[in-house]
């Protein structure tokens, strides 16, 4: 599917900023998001392609302005809601 995620060859993003080393997670919540995604992926409620679809269909402005793990978090929330695993009310009161 054509979309904002299809970045190959696009101009205008500037230099690659690559520090010589960096920690696996830049904030503790990033690790929680990665691990929750792995565990929820293993439930079989969705597969890797479905998971990608829900990142790729984030609004383009959100996609471009969100960090990697923020996108993973938005994806996980959207998927859990779409599959009826959680409700908006539960997320709000969690």
């Amino acid at each position: 599917m054509n979309g904002i995620h299809d970045l190959g060859g696009m101009d205008g993003f500037g230099k690659v900023d690559a520090p010589p080393s960096e920690p696996p997670f830049h904030d503790a919540w990033e690790g929680r998001v990665l691990a929750m995604n792995r565990i929820m992926g293993a439930t079989g409620e969705w597969n890797i392609d479905v998971g990608r679809y829900w990142i790729e269909t984030l609004p383009p402005a959100v996609y471009l302005s969100s960090s990697y793990y923020r996108k993973w978090m938005l994806r996980l929330e959207r998927l859990c809601l779409a599959r009826g695993l959680v409700t908006e009310t539960e997320l709000g009161s969690g």
């Binding site: 970045l7 060859g9 993003f13 690790g31 929680r32 439930t43 695993l85 959680v86 009161s93």
Partner: protein, 192 residues
């Protein structure tokens, strides 16, 4: 974001979908055990053992299996060999696919828009961002990863390392040299 993540974890825990201790174990594995040192072992073995190198280039997933690593490597890992005439780079233009099992989690720049957008169009300019300049007549081959097929670069063995042990050779193999945004360290860059 931290509060929002905690809210989701709390709800999923209460409903029995996730166990916080299991999350801890996954995080710990990526923070301490799964990283580019695994890929470095693979490369060092390929440098000293021609039969292993041949097997690695034929079917990397299967060849790496024989090293008895902690975690099973994905089914479609492909090793691409740097030679005097060809340099390889890996990217995932669509997202962030990366050989986690042998390199650990991808660095943030690998997942960044500039790297994903530019590597397939101007790989030499991207290499310049990493301080790497290659001869103009060297072919650069860029491999775009997918969720199913991931790549690892087999960098060239540095000169002056004849007779080195595998362990010492592995210390020359950087993460970036296995992505193709760098080269293996020179022999004089590491201690004896």
């Amino acid at each position: 974001m931290q509060l929002r993540v905690r809210a989701l974890e709390t709800v999923l825990t209460e409903k029995g979908y996730v166990d916080p201790a299991a999350l801890d174990r996954i995080i710990e594995a990526y923070e301490t055990r799964i990283g580019p040192h695994i890929g470095a072992r693979v490369v060092a073995r390929a440098w000293v053992d021609p039969a292993f190198k041949q097997a690695l280039l034929a079917d990397a997933s299967q060849a790496i299996e024989t090293l008895g690593l902690e975690q099973k490597v994905g089914d479609h890992l492909i090793a691409v060999e740097n030679t005097p005439s060809t340099h390889n780079m890996i990217v995932c233009t669509l997202c962030s696919c990366y050989p986690w099992d042998v390199l650990g989690l991808p660095p943030a720049w690998y997942k960044s828009t500039p790297y994903r957008a530019r590597t397939v169009k101007e790989p030499r300019a991207v290499l310049a961002d990493f301080g790497v300049t290659l001869p103009a007549d060297k072919t650069i081959r860029v491999w775009d990863s997918t969720a199913e097929t991931r790549f690892i670069v087999l960098p060239m063995r540095p000169e002056g390392t004849e007779g080195w042990s595998e362990e010492r050779l592995a210390s020359l193999v950087t993460r970036d040299s296995m992505i193709g945004t760098g080269l293996a360290k020179a022999a004089n860059e590491v201690g004896a």
